[in-house]
């Protein structure tokens, strides 16, 4: 490991640890732990959203895919951005209904504790299942960047993530994400500028250089996916799955008021739009500068790093690596706090009223849960091996898209939607995905992604459930918590004498 690498890596670690320490110094309660006391400004939250949203899969993955597969890769990146745009449809409602978690939002709408239970379990599954491939990817990144043994790398990242969450809760998570977001954007911008300088500030030059190695085939569709159906099956769950990702949705609970929600969405839209544009440039640049393919790691996912080395030597590469590392850290931290919220707040605290008695506070419970989940996810990540992570990630997206998205959309936009429908939707989406997984595992056969089928099943479940059991749990009009307190004053009895 070069001194440059160590320098930047240590700085990023020191910086993020400092954030945790600084946010831990102020007094904590559950409100602060889960929702940063709703104290973030719209701009801060917008940056945190993009920090939460841009995973290593986006930064490293999309640029590599663009570099390698051209048009199909671009579509892949565009899906990420499009998926974000869909968040506009649910963000305000989640903010309005939710307190700490996604289950809070659904529960305050339907007032069914079994629905809270189901949502919390689903959140836990999604978050942990997404956490594991992120940790694996982070381990591989650290391995190939810094030359650490993979086991060590995963342990370190798992430990850091656990530390940020357990110590600083949502506050430190948010700030890690904000810092990462700013770093990532400026780094990508800087690299794009250098690319611009190298290609004479002429996009056409870049284009030509990128296309040259393959004789122009890079820009044609169909390099990655054989059929349109395959492309849709990968991209539709990607587009919809983000909307079902609890760790993205809880970010709308950390601001105060719908204005700030909209402002954070605006900020995040600008940041993400800029980012995917830059990533596109970097991806083509990677192709143009010969940074893709065999030179870019075992699966070619390190194209950006290799590009940085081509553009500015080990110094720039070290800096970009550190930023990539921060990216990974920010995302896993966001996932862990969401999983912690589902386990500690929804399941243990609200559903099972645990810990019993009132001598243990929910905050300690949350911290213990964070540590436990962090350890479990880290150990699970050690068991999973490299090539399967892409499959795992897309499976998680399919799962989230199938279970959460139809339920959320129906909840917020369909008046006759019922709690039974919500449960049926979740169950059918989960069932189809799991069934496909089993089938796939037994048959050992490659095939198209189950995405479209699973989402369809989820939507059908919502529809069927609501229509079959309409009376039992009709959607109640939302009740303001203050409604009880605002009863009219009793009028004094009128004497009859």
């Amino acid at each position: 490991m070069a001194a440059d690498d160590l320098l930047f890596l240590l700085t990023v670690l020191a910086g993020t640890l400092m954030i945790s320490y600084w946010s831990a110094r102020s007094r904590h309660d559950t409100d602060r732990f889960y929702a940063a006391s709703r104290g973030l400004t719209g701009v801060q939250n917008g940056l945190a959203i993009s920090g939460d949203f841009i995973s290593a899969a986006s930064f490293l993955g999309v640029s590599s895919t663009v570099a390698r597969w051209g048009f199909d890769g671009f579509l892949y990146g565009a899906s990420f951005f499009a998926s974000y745009l869909l968040l506009w449809t649910v963000a305000e409602s989640v903010h309005r209904l939710g307190r700490y978690t996604l289950a809070d939002a659904l529960d305050s709408h339907f007032r069914r504790s079994w629905l809270r239970f189901a949502t919390a379990v689903n959140t836990l599954i999604i978050s942990v299942a997404y956490l594991i491939p992120q940790l694996v990817a982070a381990g591989e990144l650290a391995q190939s960047l810094l030359g650490w043994p993979r086991t060590w790398a995963v342990w370190w990242i798992g430990l850091l993530m656990t530390l940020y969450v357990a110590v600083g809760g949502m506050v430190s998570t948010s700030w890690v994400q904000i810092v990462k977001s700013v770093l990532l954007l400026s780094t990508a911008a800087l690299m794009a500028l250098i690319v611009g300088a190298r290609t004479g500030w002429n996009p056409a030059h870049l284009w030509r250089a990128a296309v040259a190695p393959d004789g122009g085939a890079l820009l044609a569709p169909g390099r990655l996916y054989d059929t349109a159906w395959a492309s849709l099956s990968v991209n539709v769950p990607l587009v919809l799955g983000t909307m079902g990702m609890p760790h993205i949705l809880v970010r709308f609970l950390t601001v105060r008021g719908p204005t700030e929600v909209r402002r954070s969405l605006t900020t995040a839209t600008s940041a993400l739009g800029l980012f995917y544009l830059l990533v596109l440039v970097l991806g083509f640049a990677a192709a143009a500068f010969g940074a893709s393919g065999a030179s870019a790691g075992s699966d070619g996912s390190l194209a950006v790093i290799v590009l940085a080395r081509r553009l500015g030597g080990p110094f720039l590469a070290a800096f970009v690596s550190a930023v990539a590392f921060a990216t990974v850290l920010a995302v896993v931290t966001g996932l862990l706090i969401t999983a912690t919220g589902a386990l500690a707040h929804d399941l243990l605290h609200r559903t099972f009223a645990w810990p019993p008695g009132d001598h243990r506070d929910p905050l300690t419970l949350a911290r213990v849960c964070a540590v436990l989940l962090g350890l479990v996810a880290t150990m699970a990540a050690l068991l999973v091996h490299g090539p399967s992570i892409t499959a795992l990630v897309s499976l998680v997206f399919v799962w989230a898209a199938a279970t959460n998205v139809p339920v959320l959309l129906c909840t917020f936009y369909w008046r006759r939607f019922t709690a039974a429908g919500a449960l049926a939707g979740m169950a059918s989406g989960a069932g189809v995905t799991a069934g496909w997984l089993l089938l796939h595992a037994c048959a050992k056969a490659g095939g198209v992604s189950p995405g479209l089928w699973a989402i369809g099943a989820g939507a059908a479940g919502c529809l069927a459930g609501s229509l079959l059991w309409p009376g039992r749990s009709h959607a109640q009009p939302e009740r303001e918590p203050q409604a009880d307190a605002a009863k009219p004053y009793p009028t004094p009895p009128v004497g009859d004498g």
Partner: protein, 584 residues
């Protein structure tokens, strides 16, 4: 890498030492406060740009081929990069002053770098501008902190060199890409280490300077509070000459102005300091100052002699701050702080004077309210006292109507005495304090009437010292005591008795004592005799007398009660020599 890091750190240290030395200068420390005026923003940006230029001059020259020159040149060679702590100052400018100051300082420094030349000057220029603006935005982001803590500043400072190397890569001419990358990798890590450390230390220096400045402010505050406390203790009751004199002396001592005047609405009450030869207490207030006081009711500063309105052309006073003092919503007077130089008034002192004026006004209000309270209490007491009289009046009138036929002469004399008595008691309800002699007149008139009524069964024994000092007494004090002795002391002794009134020297004052040979006070009355205030059981009259004495003359003049060694009741009180005339 290590050697280069070390050299750059040394150069940065030179800059930091200079900065530290400059922060010892008070004026400079003021610049470190986030300025809100446009002029100061320019000044701030300029100062930091000068620092940045100095940092650039302290830098090393690194040629594109990687040669490091340790020899100092005014300008870098055409193929050499200036590597120095220049961007450190710009980052600090942004962190302290926000995006505007950072950007401005960056632009100014960029101009300087362009003038100096060297290889790829535009990389440096853009770095300075971007670093200033971005650091400012960062400071905005951490808006809850006035100055970013040094350890956070280190983190921010880290990215300036990365920006610079990135810009170098952008601006490297296409033919020299390989060289450019090599140089970037040569200077990148040392610059990152040196610059981030320098930013941290710079921020720490600013922190220390700020803390000192705040301590100075705290001391100033402490001084102001002490001053106010002392000033208020002088002004317990009202704006008169002695308290004005003390106030003026205090302000003179604490504010160190050329002179201090305290005045009421017409004339000077006190003047201390320069120009005391023609600004004397009792003089009318100079017309312009008076107009300022009475018209605006606000604090005004006067910076020229003419507006000061002093009649003497050789008056050493050149300017003033006129602070009005209010009492009960009206302007009661003012404090004028004079200076001998037109611009000799610090704004901190003006603020202090303004606050002081408000506090003194409030104290005057309190005093006025207190005076009102005492007046009301006094009126209540006099009303109570007036209730005693009707019985006496009817009895006396009955007596006179009886005597008119039997003894017209005596009846006539009695009518005259009654008239005198009534006149005296009328005066008692109008005045607070009267000379003791007048009060004695009233008591004599009363005893004459009583003697007529009781057919000389009562013997009055007046023992009055010669050459008594002139003392004041609340009117209607002595007579009720005598009346009390008559009623309680003699009503049980039909054969009559003896009442002795002694008025004698006691220290510098006078002691008044009334004693009878009746049964004396019952024990429960005596029980309360040790108290200086409060009700006396069974004696409304005595209670009223006691309350008036205490209210008007102070606790040491309270009415004291005892039983004499041979029986009989004794009451006495003390009148101070020079009663606090006009106070109560």
């Amino acid at each position: 890498m290590g050697a280069l890091t070390f050299v750059i750190l040394q150069r940065s240290a030179l800059l930091l030492v200079a900065v530290f030395a400059l922060t010892r200068i008070r004026v400079f420390r003021h610049l470190l406060d986030p300025a809100d005026g446009i002029r100061l923003r320019w000044l701030d940006a300029l100062v930091f740009a000068v620092f940045a230029a100095a940092g650039s001059e302290l830098g090393l020259d690194v040629s594109l081929s990687g040669q490091v020159s340790h020899v100092w040149h005014w300008r870098p060679a055409a193929d050499a990069l200036r590597i120095g702590p220049d961007v450190v100052a710009i980052v600090i400018a942004g962190l302290l002053g926000g995006p505007a100051v950072g950007l401005l300082a960056g632009v100014l420094t960029g101009g300087w770098l362009l003038v100096m030349g060297g290889a790829d000057p535009w990389a440096g220029v853009l770095t300075q501008i971007l670093a200033g603006g971005l650091a400012g935005l960062t400071a905005h982001f951490f808006a809850d902190e006035r100055v970013l803590a040094p350890h956070k500043a280190v983190f921010v400072g880290l990215f300036a060199p990365v920006l610079y190397t990135g810009m170098l890569l952008v601006f490297t001419p296409p033919g020299q890409v390989e060289q450019g990358i090599a140089v970037v990798n040569q200077i990148g890590p040392p610059l990152v280490i040196a610059d981030s450390l320098a930013v941290g230390v710079f921020s720490a220096i600013v922190h220390v300077a700020r803390a000192e400045e705040e301590q100075a402010t705290a001391r100033e505050m402490q001084r102001a509070l002490t001053l106010v406390e002392r000033a208020l203790s002088h002004l317990r009751w009202q704006l008169d000459e002695p308290s004005a004199q003390k106030l003026a002396e205090l302000l003179m001592r604490e504010l160190r102005t050329a002179a201090v005047t305290v005045c009421d609405r017409q004339r000077l009450l006190a003047h201390v300091g320069k120009g005391a030869d023609h600004h004397r207490p009792g003089d009318p207030v100079p017309e312009p100052a008076l107009r300022m006081l009475l018209q605006s009711g606000e604090l005004r500063t006067v910076a020229d002699r003419v507006s000061l309105g002093c009649s003497r052309p050789d008056c050493p006073l050149r300017g003033a701050v006129v602070v009005p003092l209010h009492q009960s919503g009206e302007i009661a007077g003012g404090v004028i702080l004079y200076v001998s130089r037109a611009r000799g008034i610090r704004s901190a002192d003006i603020e202090l004077a303004r606050g002081l004026g408000k506090l003194i006004s409030r104290e005057l209000d309190v005093a006025a309210a207190e005076m009102l309270r005492r007046t009301i209490q006094d009126m209540r007491l006099r009303n109570l006292q007036a209730q005693v009289h009707p019985h006496f009046l009817f009895n006396t009138l009955n007596l006179i109507s009886g005597l008119v036929r039997i003894d017209p002469d005596r009846a006539r004399r009695l009518i005259v005495r009654l008239g005198q008595f009534l006149r005296a008691s009328l005066r008692a309800s109008e005045q607070r304090l009267v000379p003791l002699a007048e009060e004695l007149e009233m008591a004599f008139a009363y005893t004459d009437i009583v003697k007529a009524r009781f057919d000389d069964r009562i013997v009055f024994d007046w023992r009055i010292d010669e050459n008594l000092p002139s003392v004041l007494i609340p009117p209607g004090t002595l007579q009720p005591l005598v009346e009390n002795s008559v009623k309680h002391g003699l009503s049980v002794r039909p054969e009559g008795g003896r009442i002795q009134v002694q008025i004698r020297h006691a220290g510098t004052g006078v002691q008044v004592e009334v004693r009878d040979d009746g049964p004396g006070f019952p024990p429960d009355v005596l029980y309360s005799a040790g108290c200086t205030d409060g009700e006396i059981p069974g004696g409304v009259g005595l209670s009223i007398v006691r309350q008036r004495l205490v209210a008007l003359l102070g606790a040491e003049s309270t009415l004291r009660l005892a039983n004499g060694p041979h029986g009989g009741a004794v009451v006495w009180f003390h009148l101070p020599a020079r009663a606090k005339e006009g106070v109560g």
